[in-house]
Amino acid sequence: MKWGYFPGCSLLGSARELRESLLAVAGKAGIELQEIPDWNCCGATAAHNVSRLLAVALPGRILALAEKAGMKEVVVPCSACYNRLAVARHELAADEHLREQVKALVEMDYRGDVKLVNLLEMLAIVLGKDAGLKVEKPFAHQVACYYGCLLVRPPKVLKFDRPEDPQAMDELMRKIGAEPIAWPDKVECCGAGLSVSRTDLVAKLSSRILASAVKRGAEAMIVACPMCHANLDMRREDITRLTGEHYSLPVVYLTQAVGLALGLSEKDLGLHRHLVKVVFPAQPKPAPPPQPPAEKKPAEAAEE
């Protein structure tokens, strides 16, 4: 299987472990990810704040490039990019005038027939029956599936899963032997957009989310979005400074959890790149049947 692929800027830097784990899992599933040639930044959190036109034009160029490269569907691992691309695609479809404007800006034709695939949708296929992959090391932990804002909102545009209390990630987790907890903060915002400029607020929001997950017995938080990961993984000092609480809850990318279950090495999945060590309580809670209990705790191999 060959798919178009839009990494997005953060996967080249702060979220490179997402790239690594994604490619590793894709490789395992025999999916070839073909990068959109000459792709640019989607403008993510910044563009729409200062110029709507820009916020549509930048994703517009990416989509146009994908079309030019003859791609039918494009995998967009970063939720932020996925959201921007999907919204732009929606607005371009709805507004003829805007479409003409953007065509002129990107100096390319645009039809709008590229299908966008987010991380969850892709992994659903990877773990689907047809893929024929089997879970080698069940990820037997209680996990808090954290979707964030960008995968489910705005519902009318994304039409992905249910807007409150989504289930897609929970199902994936069950598939790999994990036990997703029921918790109310799945789609609460972590403060992504203000990550650098208002660290204080980000710490506040992120701490709420961590607290809620820990309180309900989560051993790991599973995320699909680099922004969420950055806030939840890198902002612990700020959180401690703000709340006095110290949280050791590891924040793991969906692809990493799946990768581990598929038997990939922690190195290939870039688990060592997190600031918060990926370790789990000594006695992992038994996964719900039928999955067998985990025989090996992935953390043991964690380096450094």
């Binding site: 249910r162 807007p163 409150e164 209390d165 109310p184």
Partner: protein, 663 residues
């Protein structure tokens, strides 16, 4: 040479505001065949009508065009006026220059021009109108009432007490409807069952009322005064004549854990059951979807223990046919369920309930015998949050309308809770308090001032569970939209009132129109609130729009009055808008070629075959003939007739083509 009079109504400012009526009148006066073009402030008023009458007498008018509102509104008025002046009422037509012109266009030349053209069109039509005479049809003096809720009960009793026969059809095992589920009723707080059950008994015992419970309307044919209906009596599994309602069967039934519809899922019932002790009729039904015998092929405990051998497992649905002259639809409403609210947890928490469920909690006959206990653990809630407008006035949920009763019953719920749990706290989240009604506003104030219910103005954004509490995240817009967080033990959603799931199907059976929300439509929003566009079919209660009990009862009595009026004479006269087959002089007799395409397409089987014979009785020709009683005047046959031998009175080819040419 025709002498047409044109009368243009200002309708105050409604028409004159955008249409230059004087100009239009002058223009109309110039149309060929028009001998008078008049305009007046209110044509429908008495002086307005006399203006027309005088003109008819003095100017010897052969036709009248009234340019005013929609004919659906005032055509009868003006036709009556003409008749009073000695002009055949069917020589009067209306040009709709209000709804179709002045109200929908800006004041402009073009609008006046349009009005003038609409008038010309009607002038051309009326020139070709022929005097027609109403058709008399017999009336079957039996009424069919659909729905045994308070509206249906009221309508049935009123018609029956007027001395006419009534057939009352209820889809559930017992009559009583939602009102029977209520605890107490606002604003008087009198017990709902105490005021309703006597009425139910009256229905059961009334000599003029035939009750079909656990039955549904299968089909309707015919027309006003002469409907033929089929009613499906669903198989009860019990011989009603033998059964005494002793209740042993339910006691013995092993299936005891089925959520009770009557208790809105909070209580349990058996597979063979009566919805509640006050049920009318007090005869059980077997719920085949849950009965062990139907599922596994054995059990029959009820049959074993029934002292009267009244159980009938092999009973089949029964189709009853009846002839009725009028139908009253009183099929009531439904409400949204808590699962319809993503932001409030998709109904996953047992302690988030809807209004009807709270009624059952508060009702002395309910699962908790009137004690307020939360469903999850049976504890008495210390803090209860009531949320008004749950789904109502919510464009995003497709319900932009106000459900009308929630403000009042929420105040009532909060009040009842405070009466039962004195130390408890009751919060009500609301957007507006709509308490229009006798003693309603006073009632709400009482809840706030005397019973200490706390009202918070704002919508709740989210509810989630934490440490066995329900965290309710709202805002108080009166505090500058500051976030407000309440940790509650029980949350009651005043969920929106919606049409029944099968409302659309019913409307199609009855051939009445319905609104986008599937509430059945009245004939006129103000002046004909209980009639539908289909003659002989009337509306009562919440099947038409959200209503509280007094309103439903009032409308039911209104509908009953309409039925009684219809039944007051043994004949009724129908508009002669029907098809006719033309006649010509011998030897042709009629241009009809006897292809009988008309016969095939007629939805009323109104086309008959007529043999035209000579004196000796030899058949000279067979031609189509229209049965005046059956024809409803849809005109489908006219459009299909290849030789144009059949035509529609009032909308004849000549008339319609003339209209079209005048455009």
């Amino acid at each position: 040479m025709s002498r047409i009079g044109v009368f243009i109504c200002h309708c105050g400012e409604n028409i004159a505001g955008t249409v230059d009526v004087v100009k239009a009148a002058q223009a109309a006066a110039q149309f060929p065949g028009v001998v008078q073009g008049a305009e007046y402030k209110y044509m429908c008023s008495d002086p307005g009508q006399s203006l027309i009458k005088e003109a008819i007498r003095e100017k010897k008018l052969t036709g009248v065009v009234v340019a005013a509102c929609s004919p659906r509104m005032h055509e009868p008025t003006f036709r009556r006026a003409c008749a009073e002046a000695g002009l055949n009422p069917f020589l009067c037509e209306m040009a709709n220059i209000r709804e179709h012109c002045s109200w929908v266009h800006e004041k402009s030349e073009a609008t006046t021009r349009k009005a003038t053209e609409l008038i010309r069109i009607m002038v051309e039509k009326v020139k070709r109108n022929k005097p027609l005479y109403p058709i008399k049809v017999p009336v079957t003096k039996t009424a069919l009432v659909l729905g045994g809720g308070i509206a249906g009960i009221q309508a049935a009793l009123d018609v029956a007490n007027a001395g006419h026969q009534v057939i009352l059809v209820e889809k559930d095992p017992s009559i009583g409807g939602h009102m029977l589920q209520l605890s107490e009723t606002f604003p008087t707080l009198d017990c709902s069952q105490c005021i309703l059950t006597p009425r139910m008994v009256e229905v059961a015992q009334h000599p003029n009322i035939t009750l079909y419970s656990y039955s549904e309307l299968e089909s309707v044919e015919g027309f006003i005064g002469n409907f033929k209906v089929k009613i499906r009596k669903k198989a009860r599994g019990v011989d009603e004549k033998l059964c005494t309602g002793c209740g042993i069967c339910s006691q013995k039934c092993p299936k005891k854990k089925i959520p009770s519809e009557f208790d809105a899922g909070l209580g349990k019932r058996t597979a063979i059951y009566v919805p509640c002790p006050q049920a009318i009729p007090n005869k059980p039904v077997i719920d085949r979807a849950n009965c062990t015998y139907y599922l596994k092929g054995k059990c029959k405990a009820c049959e074993k223990f029934c002292p009267r051998q009244a159980i009938r497992f092999d009973q089949k649905d029964e189709l009853v046919e009846a002839e009725v002259g009028a139908i009253v639809a009183a099929t009531g409403f439904d409400i949204l369920q808590t699962r319809d609210f993503p932001e409030y947890g998709y109904g996953q928490s047992q302690d988030i309930i809807n209004g009807l469920q709270f009624e059952r909690l508060a009702s002395a006959s309910g699962p908790t015998l009137g004690a307020i206990k939360r469903p999850s653990d049976g504890k008495e809630p210390e803090t209860v949050v009531f949320i008004a407008c749950a789904g109502s006035r919510d464009q995003a949920k497709g319900i932009p309308y106000c459900s009308k009763i929630c403000c009042m019953y929420t105040a009532k719920h909060a009040m009842l809770y405070k009466h039962k749990v004195h130390h408890g706290k009751a919060y009500v989240f609301y957007m507006d308090i709509r308490a229009g009604g006798k003693m309603y506003e006073e009632f709400v104030r009482r809840a706030i001032e005397e019973d200490g219910v706390i009202y918070v103005r704002g919508r709740v954004s989210r509810i989630y569970e934490e440490d066995g509490k329900l965290v309710v995240k709202g805002a108080d817009t009166l505090l500058g939209a500051q976030p407000v967080e309440i940790r509650a033990d029980l949350v009651v959603l005043a969920t929106a009132m919606v049409a029944n799931p099968d409302a659309e199907a019913l409307a199609q059976k009855l051939r009445v129109s319905y609104d986008p929300y599937h509430f059945l439509s009245e004939a006129h929003p103000k002046l004909r609130p209980v009639e539908t566009n289909t003659g002989g079919i009337f509306l009562a209660g919440a099947c038409q729009a959200p209503k509280d009990i007094p309103e439903a009862v009032a409308q039911a009595s209104g509908a009953a009055a309409k039925v009684s009026a219809l039944f007051s004479s043994s004949e009724l006269s129908r508009e002669p808008v029907i098809a006719v087959v033309n006649r010509t002089a011998p030897p042709i007799f009629s241009t009809c070629t006897a292809c009988f395409l008309c016969e095939k397409v007629c939805p009323y089987q109104a086309i008959e075959r007529e043999e035209i014979k000579d004196r000796k009785g030899n058949v000279l020709k067979v031609a189509a003939k229209v049965n005046q009683g059956l024809c409803q005047g849809c005109g489908t046959c006219v459009a299909l007739c290849r030789v144009k031998a059949i035509d529609l009175q009032g909308f004849s080819n000549e008339q319609v083509y003339a209209e079209m040419m005048a455009v």
